[in-house]
């Protein structure tokens, strides 16, 4: 296996939800990127991208997470997160939150250019699509809204998945429609959120895929919550956890 990441220092931004709910995802990112030659750090100063505060209207709390982000990652060549939504928030909201503090804003400017979702880092910086993974299963892919329209990572996840040995990627109907998670939306508008998640889960179940993949565990937790409740035989899985799988 070639090591295109040789000499790159990468700060792993686990994200808050992965840190406490889905630690396997950042572990898999660490394993994959180490295999590709990157040297990884994961500063304990990191907390969260801040979007749950910012998107609920609480900018001061959002600003505090920007400070934590800058403190944690200022020295890295790149910051990589297994979340297009969190990276989208870093790139599109941190400047607004830091705008009234010039010193912080300058650090933010430098850092957001180097903040990438895992799939972007693989295809654009390491320039690999085939990461040497093998996953002989049927997979459907959920396009998270923030990956599509905020971070704008395009079809990078699908390109990476198509290069995985044995993986059969099946289309998901209405894939550009939101799953209804929406951060605090799922608690502030629970009935609408559940109705949206139910529509999405039905579309997922209709694909008959074994796995539902995404680049954001928040979407997967939402859709997966319905799938688990209705006992649909589809397992949610983060793209990183597929890309890390190798032939036995």
């Amino acid at each position: 296996m070639s090591q295109p990441g040789q000499g790159l220092s990468v700060g792993l931004f686990a994200t808050c939800i992965n840190d406490v709910m889905f630690p396997d995802t950042p572990k898999h990112v660490a394993e994959l990127l180490t295999r590709l030659g990157c040297s990884l750090t994961s500063s304990p100063a990191q907390t969260c991208c801040g979007q749950m505060f910012t998107n609920t209207g609480y900018f001061r709390e959002g600003e505090a997470t920007v400070e934590a982000y800058v403190e944690a990652f200022a020295d890295c060549d790149y910051v990589v997160a297994p979340s297009a939504s969190c990276i989208g928030s870093v790139r599109h909201q941190h400047q607004m939150l830091a705008a009234h503090r010039p010193a912080l804003a300058r650090k933010v400017d430098r850092l957001i250019k180097r903040s990438l979702d895992l799939t972007e880092f693989l295809t654009d910086i390491l320039e690999v699509e085939d990461v040497g993974a093998s996953f002989p299963h049927t997979v459907t892919y959920h396009t998270g809204c923030h990956s599509l329209r905020v971070a704008r990572i395009g079809d990078r996840p699908q390109r990476l998945l198509r290069a995985v040995r044995g993986l059969r990627l099946v289309d998901l109907a209405d894939s550009d429609i939101c799953c209804g998670f929406g951060g605090t939306f799922c608690l502030k508008n629970p009935d609408v959120s559940i109705a949206m998640a139910t529509n999405k889960a039905k579309a997922v179940a209709d694909t008959k895929a074994e796995y539902l993949a995404a680049v954001d565990n928040a979407c997967l937790m939402n859709i997966g919550g319905i799938l688990h409740r209705i006992k649909a035989p589809v397992t949610p899985i983060h793209v990183a956890s597929i890309l890390v799988q190798q032939e036995p």
Partner: protein, 502 residues
């Protein structure tokens, strides 16, 4: 053309069908209304089918225009220019209109606008008026003001007629009866038409051509005898004083040309500077709204033309909160809106719940921005509207005037949060966010939080997922969704154990 001096009254003693009781602004918070609307399965099916069709049509028609992005940019630039210099453009428009023979009236709010129209209609002695579909008169509830003054206002747009006869409210800015299917429409026509004019044929079916034929017959007498027409305006050209109404059915053309008196009620943001600017909007609007290359009827009129069409032309320019929108540096971009409705057709929240949940004549993405900006944040409904959105970002991509809805929505949420923080009574949300904010502000505090979540994870390890029977607030999630148990060991703990020297 015989004019009726006294119109028949319905069983409630009214001239026109009564709308649902109560004021929109007094409606409960959005989540409560939404729960009620979601339970209406027929409506959900009607909405999903109709919006899916219109979304596909829009996408097709937009894809035919190679310079679509340039047109959007041009429209944004023109509208921003109007908003920056609204004071001078409005005076220019007044001057052009007056020169062309129209009489211009200024209304600060809904009450003033309605009073001006009521006085103008009373002065003609007409007992009734025919109306072209208009959002601003929905906003001011003009029909009710006219009813109170003993004047009958007849909606002549097919969908507005369905809504009016159905004692209902519009649920969409372009397709007001989008929540009704044809069999429901047939029932409304059969029970209601006879009370307010020509009845529907007794053997009416739910065939679309039979329904439109019944509507046409019902409206025909009203068109022929009405001496006053009331319209809104899609655009008002400042340099010529030309008003533009864009429509699909020809009812507008009749309202604008048959009566002697024409009163147009127009929001002050409807200005475009020059006649040439219309070319941009006339290409953007039909493709964005109905998914048509060109709308069937475009009526333009410039004041009075002697011997042709209405000889008394009035234009009522209405503020009704628009200057408050203009005063908000982030919110003012919503004044670019040309009411195409592409945002609501593409909104995953709107397409599930429909327009009645919003307590606002403007539903969907534009409504959750515009209504709180115009009305302020004092009511529960206006405080809840900016949160009726998952921030999925689908709407700004289809907006023909490039309104950055997520930017405005997050800005308004900030205003709501500040409003709650300033409030003297405590709010659970502000307290919970402040507590969470403290934990998320520093890595070491967050580490403490991960110990607590790890403890929960170890205690419930055998369970795998939390199920339905959880206390509030967890049941907001778990009523329909299972929830994974937090990890017994957080990622940061694992990293520390494996990567950091003791």
């Amino acid at each position: 053309m015989s004019q009726l001096t006294t119109l028949p009254r319905d069983t409630d003693g009214r001239l026109t069908p009564a709308p649902p009781p109560g004021e929109l602004i007094d409606m409960p918070r959005f989540p409560i209304n939404a729960r009620h609307e979601l339970a209406n399965t027929d409506q959900r099916n009607n909405l999903q089918a109709a919006t899916a069709t219109i979304r596909a049509k829009r996408a097709l028609r937009v894809s035919e225009v190679p310079q679509w992005e340039d047109l959007r940019q041009a429209a944004k630039t023109i509208k921003d220019q109007v908003d920056r210099h609204l004071d001078s453009y409005l005076l220019q428009a007044e001057q052009s209109l007056t020169k062309a023979g129209a009489i211009v009236h200024w209304a600060r709010d809904a009450t003033e606008a309605n009073q001006i129209v009521v006085d103008l209609v009373k002065a003609t002695g007409a007992p009734e008026v025919v109306k072209v579909k208009s959002m601003v008169t929905q906003e001011t509830e003009l029909n009710e003001a006219l009813e109170q003054a003993g004047i009958a206002a007849w909606e002549t747009d097919l969908a507005e007629l369905i809504v009016q006869l159905g004692h209902d409210r519009p649920s969409h800015v372009l397709v007001p009866a989008i929540h009704k299917n044809r069999s429901q429409i047939k029932d409304i026509f059969l029970t209601e038409m006879g009370q307010y004019g020509t009845p529907a044929p007794a053997d009416l079916t739910d065939d679309p051509s039979a329904l439109t034929s019944a509507a046409r017959t019902h409206l025909r007498n009203k068109f022929m005898r009405s001496t006053v027409g009331i319209s809104g305006g899609n655009f008002l050209v400042a340099d010529t004083g030309t008003l533009v109404v864009v429509e699909s059915e020809g009812n507008g053309r009749m309202c604008l040309t048959l009566p002697q008196t024409l009163i147009s009620v127009v929001g002050i943001e409807k200005i475009v500077p020059r006649f040439e600017d219309l070319e941009v909007f006339m290409r953007l609007l039909p493709r964005s709204s109905t998914g048509e290359r060109m709308n069937p009827y475009t009526s333009m009129w410039t004041g009075v033309t002697p011997g042709d069409g209405p000889q008394n032309v009035h234009v009522v320019l209405v503020d009704n909160g628009r200057t408050s929108v203009l005063a908000d540096p982030i919110g003012r971009q919503t004044l670019r809106c040309i009411r195409c409705s592409a945002c609501m057709n593409t909104c995953p929240v709107y397409t599930l719940v429909g327009g009645h949940a919003y307590g606002s004549v403007y539903p969907g993405p534009i409504g959750i921005c515009l209504s709180p900006l115009m009305r302020g944040l004092d009511s529960p409904i206006d405080q809840s509207l900016p949160y009726a959105c998952t921030l999925c970002g689908a709407c700004p991509d289809v907006c023909p005037v490039k309104i950055d809805f997520p930017e405005v929505i997050i800005h308004l949420r900030h205003e709501v949060a500040e409003h709650k923080i300033r409030d003297t009574k405590p709010h659970l949300e502000t307290t919970a966010i402040a507590a969470a904010g403290w934990f998320f502000a520093k890595g070491r505090r967050f580490t403490v939080m991960t110990w607590l979540s790890g403890l929960v994870g170890r205690v419930f390890k055998a369970k795998k997922q939390f199920g339905a029977h959880m206390p509030w607030p967890a049941r907001l999630w778990t009523s329909a969704r299972d929830l994974p148990i937090p990890a017994a060991e957080s990622f940061r703990e694992w990293w520390r154990r494996n990567h950091e020297r003791p």
